[in-house]
Amino acid sequence: MPLFWLRVAVAFYGAGLAYALIALLLRREAFSARVLAVLAPGWVLHGVALVETIAMFGRGSLFSMHQSESLLGWLLMGVFLAMYLRYKTTSPGLFVIPAVFLLGLMAALGQAPPHFSSPITRNWWIVAHVTLIFLGYAALFLSFVSSLLYLLQERSLKSKRGLVSGALSRLPSLQTIDDMGYKTLLIGFPFITVGLIMGSVLAESNFGADYFRDPKILLSVIVWIIYMGLLYSRWNSGWRGRKAAYFASFAFVAAVCAWAANFVSGVHRYIGQ
């Protein structure tokens, strides 16, 4: 049943994606809030699927590869919808909708979640640890998307073209995009920090000091440091625009690496404990 709801949710996301693509191809305004009419119900159903998964297979099931994709996608969409409430723009959807659709699709095509035998994964602390880190990643991704939008808008203002018609003519103002990028960074940072601390404490008690040599842990700490650097550069010298965008892309790539490191990590391997 959870898989069914997830698939319905993915169908909704797919409809949103199709709408966005058509709007782009027809060079209408980027895309209007109408796209939310399919994204919001999709998100709710997606949430239902996640809750049912936990209810049926236990908390640990969230950490199978496909379920964690599903959870990350859900959080991403949640942050995107929250941003819409605050900024009344769907422009980040340009990148968020395809990302969530792909995450959801991978999860929906996967098998039913495997059962975890390891007792640690049933701990609520782990659920909190993962959810917080994922929320941080989702916020980081939106900050990255904002810096891409900033670059697009800056380029169109500098080149003095594409201001009037076309897909990019309805982007929010530079000021708004900048604010979006900064606020998401600001909100995401505490989540990642607390999530990492929790993870450290948990790992320490389960694996001992050895876990620090785990590649995933190392990468996560690097992501955190880059995150910190991003924030600092903004506070200190008002970095924005190109430099900030490159920095944010770097952070994003590092975060993806940290995610991918699950395949080589002893502590975070999905299957086999």
Binding site: E154, L157, K158, V164, S173, L174, Q175, G238, W239, G241
Partner: protein, 443 residues
Amino acid sequence: MKMPYILVGLNHRSAPVELRERLSFPAEEMAGALLELQALPHVSEAMILSTCNRVEVLACANGSAPDLLPFFSARAQLPAQQLRSHLYEWRGDDAVRHMFRVASSLDSLVVGESQILGQLKEAYAFGRAQGGVQSYLDALLNRAFSVAKRVRSETAVGSSSVSIASVAVELARKIFGSLEGRTVYVVGAGKMNELAMQHLRASGVGAAIITNRTFERAQRLAERFEGTAVPFDRLYETVPQADIVITSTGAQQPIFLREHGEAFMQARRNRPMFFIDIAVPRDVAPEMNKIEGLFVYDIDDLQQVIAANRAGRTREAQQAEAIISSEVVRFREHLCELDVAPTIVSLQDSMEMLRQAEIERARGKLGPLTSEQEQALEALTRGIVNKVLHTPITALKSAAKTQKSESLVEVVEHLFNLNLHANLSGRRERKAAGEARKDSAKA
């Protein structure tokens, strides 16, 4: 049935301004001119639209089409021959289409500007008050207003900026979002800068700083916009306070160079800055646009945005033309239905009278009836009448749509023995009332 409208006039494309001036109607002469028009043979209704870009007379013809040329030539005090080439005349569908286009601002000098709709509404209100606008013109004008509304909401004909100042505001919004609380720096106290400043002020910008080589002029402008005047030699140190800089000086060399821009950005901790350079030769070195976070638009750039906006409007205008074409057809159908409506009503009335009379006659023979029987009798007779009338009414309605209703109306009236003169139409009655009003106005 042909739509009885006729429109004669001239506009900014067909006639030079000298001629438009000669023909324009000041408000105090409007009433007299309207009476004059209504007194012309074959004119049953009339109104005048007079703006700086057009003078048009819209009339409703009674029988054959009236000749409005003498009216114009008398007004302009020019021989008709000389005037003819500048006037256009539209009849029937074409007059309706023209009215719709004018109301939707597709015929305007600046396509999409909405001023014309207000002017048309005024002309209509005046014509109504003076008795020139009655049923036919009323129907046309009301439809024209709703068509204009539809065009405005379904196309983007009127949504983009086409003046230097409004484009500058539009661009500033793309950078800063809301302009509230933004500081504007005005370099040079010339006319252009004043205009741009006026526009920015209207869009809600906050503080204004003004400088000029002659300090007194800066002070004068500062007073007007409740800003601060700054001596010209303090220009470079004060500019970083501003988010938006409008510059238009007579300087032969650029006064803002790349190194200035870099210094400004450093002082502003990379907060974006917008330079609007409306001077020729330019005040801002083009290399400044290469600095990150600094946006420079010179007069040509602004003109280009305007041109693009215009092109966008033209694209939208094609969509609007399609809407108007379909609305002309709809209006014609609507008008035709109005034409057969009186016949249908009198047909129904006369059958109803017949039915009532027959029931009365039968009642004597039937004796006392129970209420169920009464109801049955009522339903039976009504059913028969409705069934009999169904075919002729449908035929009338569909004939109205194909514009061949007049002969059919005659046949129906003849067959059902409808009293032609008493019933023929509210239309003729309304017309008669109009004539009466005209007479009393003359007296």
